[in-house]
């Protein structure tokens, strides 16, 4: 069963077309990893799934909510769409004036009106799940980058969303803390969470993804299981991209150095 369906998504910033007629389907309980060079539109695609970015056209269905962007959906409609998913940001965007636990309980208590005691209990369990029960009362500024990102994951999970969107969750982190975050994400995948992940972590995609989509120039160039897209890509653009990411020093003098 598809949990997420994207049809004919089109987004331009001025003259610059970022997404050109993009289609995507995500099965419930699956992990989809979006890869591609910067500027390929993968983050924009992710943000169209919860309305943080509003495309000019396209129909997005997440769970029970369908939004046709051509109809200029209002605030309520976008809020309904947004409520279907949780989001983990590249720069975590934790609330700096709230502790780790308060970050995780803010949505449940104040948006979903869950009793505070119950929300706190769940929040603590979620912090434990991401390995940060001992940091429940720490402010974000007192945590490392990897810890902040894991609190961000707990905050997203606390809403009990249908799926979780990850926007380059590890690309702003110190290398030694990346693993902690990826391990948490792998565990979530094993528990059956539906996840869409924009990432440059090819190894993670190989091991965890059910589906990989390679975007370039505003469209999905190639997609399929990682064994196909990552191990035996058909498209030359996919091959070039993967070679560059996996082995940045391998480029010969003849290769196309567009950037």
């Amino acid at each position: 069963m598809s949990l997420v369906t994207v049809r004919n998504l089109r987004k331009a910033f001025g003259d610059h077309v970022v997404l050109d007629d993009v289609n995507l389907e995500v099965a419930e309980g699956s992990v989809t990893v979006l890869i591609g060079p910067s500027g390929s539109g993968k983050t924009t695609l992710l943000r169209c799934l919860n309305g943080l970015t509003q495309p000019e056209a396209g129909v997005v269905t997440v769970g029970d909510v369908t939004v046709d962007y051509a109809d200029r959906p209002g605030r309520d409609r976008l809020a309904a769409l947004r409520a279907q998913s949780g989001m983990v940001f590249q720069a975590h965007h934790l609330f700096p004036h709230r502790t780790a636990l308060q970050n995780a309980t803010e949505g449940p208590i104040h948006a979903q009106r869950e009793p505070a005691a119950q929300a706190r209990q769940r929040g603590l369990a979620l912090l434990e799940q991401v390995g940060l029960a001992h940091k429940a009362d720490a402010y974000p500024s007192e945590l490392s980058g990897g810890q902040q990102q894991r609190v961000g994951i707990a905050r997203a999970l606390a809403l009990r969303p249908r799926l979780i969107l990850f926007d380059e969750p590890t690309s702003a982190l110190d290398p030694e803390t990346v693993g902690d975050v990826l391990l948490v994400m792998r565990d979530l995948a094993r528990q059956g969470w539906t996840m869409i992940v924009v990432s440059h972590e090819i190894r993670f995609a190989e091991q965890v993804a059910d589906h990989v989509a390679f975007l370039d120039g505003g469209g999905i160039v190639e997609d399929g299981p990682p064994s196909q897209v990552l191990a035996n890509p058909v498209e030359p653009r996919t091959r070039t991209f993967l070679r560059r990411v996996l082995d940045p020093l391998s480029q010969g003098p003849d290769s196309d150095r567009s950037d």
């Binding site: 998913s85 949780g86 965007h93 609330f95 700096p96 004036h97 803010e106 948006a111 809403l159």
Partner: protein, 222 residues
């Protein structure tokens, strides 16, 4: 200074302090609280995408900042009666000062809201908070920290500006000094005493500002 002046000064400290306690301080507090409420509404209107609100708020700020406070005070107390609106001195002063604080603090609040990164709005909306809750729970608590220094300036200026109320017969600190100075001709002594009391009040406030800034920064570790 002759002993008579000293004697007068000592005897005047009490009445002047009373002027501060019964006039200057309540006038400042009332005007500041009401002014902040006005300022928040105006700042939000100014940030709004609804054009008429935006224009209205801009016009208000422009008028308040572009005209002297004394003139605003005179319009409310001396000119409005000709339109049939009669307000007592103290409430007139509160109205004038509140409107004035509203105009200046609106810009400080607007600036501090704009200083909060867009990611905070986005994160709030992804956890289901609407506009009002996002403001109340996420943006304003952080903006407050940013706004304390400029708002403290407004507050301290207001303490001193309330002396203008003496010109519409509000019995506050300066008015008291005038009343005692006039019959005795001890203007220098009395006005200097008034200045010292204003300075003391402002010094205490500056100290309070520092403590408040520290308290609001508890979550920021450098």
């Amino acid at each position: 200074m002759d002993p008579g002046t000293w004697d007068l000064l000592l005897r005047s400290v009490g009445p002047l302090l009373m002027g501060a306690v019964a006039g200057t301080i309540p006038l400042t507090l009332a005007s500041f609280v009401i002014g902040l409420a006005i300022a928040l509404v105006v700042a939000l209107a100014r940030l709004s995408t609804i054009r008429p609100l935006n224009v209205l708020a801009g016009a208000y700020i422009s008028v308040i900042r572009g005209t002297p406070l004394l003139v605003q005070l005179f319009i409310i107390f001396y000119a409005l009666p000709s339109l049939g609106v009669l307000i007592d001195p103290f409430p007139s002063a509160v109205v004038a000062f509140s409107l004035n604080v509203g105009g200046y603090a609106a810009e400080a609040i607007r600036g501090s809201i704009l200083a909060i990164p867009r990611g905070q709005w986005e994160a709030a909306s992804t956890i289901g908070l609407g506009y009002a809750l996002t403001l109340r729970r996420v943006i304003l608590p952080q903006a407050l920290r940013v706004a304390v220094p400029p708002l403290s300036n407004t507050f301290i200026s207001l303490v001193k500006d309330t002396s203008l109320a003496s010109s519409i017969m509000v019995t506050e600190l300066l008015r008291r000094a005038q009343e005692i100075a006039a019959p005795s001709y001890q203007f220098l002594a009395l006005y200097c005493l008034a200045a010292v009391i204003y300075w003391l009040i402002c010094t205490v406030l500056s100290f309070g500002q520092q403590r408040l800034e520290r308290r609001l920064s508890h979550y920021v570790t450098v």
